[in-house]
């Protein structure tokens, strides 16, 4: 895995915090990041982990944000010959007692049609809509793309 150790430690720390403080919330969205090109971006990408600690499966149906008119779920697929294609996902199953990761080069959220120009440092709130009716709201600060991952 390309995940850095530091990142993993952070994730564990976050996990512990949530598990201790959150009470009985089976679903959570953690490590939300929104990344953007430094100048003139027309799209941004979102990465996160959806945890389902409950005994029932759920489905992520939709993600919305006041920052962009369109948020779509995508998966970058490498066809093995260097050709990368993005496949849109209309929904995403979140199995019981499992997690689903959105990470660079794999699943990601694509934000486009920005309501106001989105730049590094902007604050973005996103709402994750699950089929069970549960919604989770999370905010993050937009960061530049790239990094030692």
């Amino acid at each position: 895995m390309r995940t850095a150790n530091g990142r993993r430690r952070t994730a564990i720390a976050v996990l512990l915090t949530t598990a201790c403080g959150g009470g009985a919330a089976p679903l959570s969205v953690e490590r939300l990041e929104v990344r953007i090109a430094p100048v003139g971006a027309v799209t941004a990408s979102g990465y996160l982990v959806v945890y389902n600690r409950g005994p029932l499966a759920d489905t992520l149906d939709r993600v919305t944000t006041p920052a962009a008119d369109s948020v779509t779920l995508h998966e970058s697929m490498d066809h093995g010959d260097g050709q990368t294609m993005m496949m849109p996902l209309t929904w995403l199953a979140i199995p019981a007692r499992d997690s689903v990761t959105f990470a660079v080069g794999g699943r990601h959220l694509m934000l486009e049609h920005f309501v106001t120009p989105l730049t590094v440092g902007s604050s973005v709130s996103m709402t994750f809509h699950f089929r069970s009716g549960r919604t989770i709201k999370q905010s993050t600060t937009v960061r530049a793309v790239g990094g030692e991952e």
């Binding site: 799209t43 050709q83 660079v104 080069g105």
Partner: protein
């Protein structure tokens, strides 16, 4: 400066390398039959003709085809290359040209493409052209040509573009010797870029 040398030293000593090097000592994938820089005329940010093969003769050139609406793969490659060039000694970074050719010229007008590319590093070169020239350039580079995904295109005019995600590094002789797939890390670039600059200059 010391920090930079120290960091470079660590990488060179093998601290960050966990995959075998190519016969030429690169982390990137060496091509068995390298192809020359595509002999095509594209258009630069000033609207001037840019003869790709002529303009890059004698320099190390990283050639990458992509598009601005690509949220995940294209900007990550460009950001990582820019970050590494920033940290490398000037003698190395000034020898490296980075060229981004849009495969989506209909949406990526130069008015928006040029600042987007320059935003990563003002030295990066943004190029556009006609669909047929861009296609010819990709074929000449040995890449599958980018394709507009018409199946998922939305009524609002959004669409995705499948495209080759590797960066092709051309050595000074104009041959595209080494390829860098998506997932190439900054430390991989930091290892290979000085080697690409050195390539062919030795005794």
């Amino acid at each position: 400066m010391w920090l930079v040398l120290l960091a470079l030293g660590t990488v060179a000593c093998g601290g960050g390398i966990d995959r075998p090097l190519s016969p030429g000592g690169f982390i990137g994938a060496e091509v068995i039959t390298p192809r020359p820089m595509p002999d095509v005329v594209l258009t630069d940010a000033k609207g001037q003709p840019y003869h790709l093969a002529d303009a890059t003769r004698g320099t190390v050139t990283l050639l990458f085809f992509g598009y601005m609406h690509c949220p995940d793969v294209c900007p990550v490659h460009l950001a990582n290359i820019a970050a590494v060039l920033d940290k490398l000694p000037e003698e190395v970074s000034r020898e490296v040209k980075v060229i981004f050719v849009t495969v989506d010229p209909a949406r990526d007008s130069m008015a928006v493409l040029a600042p987007w590319v320059a935003g990563f590093d003002p030295r990066f070169i943004a190029l556009t052209g006609s669909d047929s020239t861009i296609q010819a350039a990709q074929l000449a580079a040995g890449l599958l040509t980018a394709e507009k995904d018409t199946v998922t295109a939305s009524a609002a005019g959004s669409y995705l573009v499948g495209h080759a995600s590797q960066v092709i590094a051309h050595t000074r002789d104009g041959l595209g010797r080494v390829q860098y797939p998506f997932g190439t890390r900054q430390r991989d670039w930091a290892h290979d870029l000085p080697k690409l600059v050195e390539y062919g200059t030795g005794p």
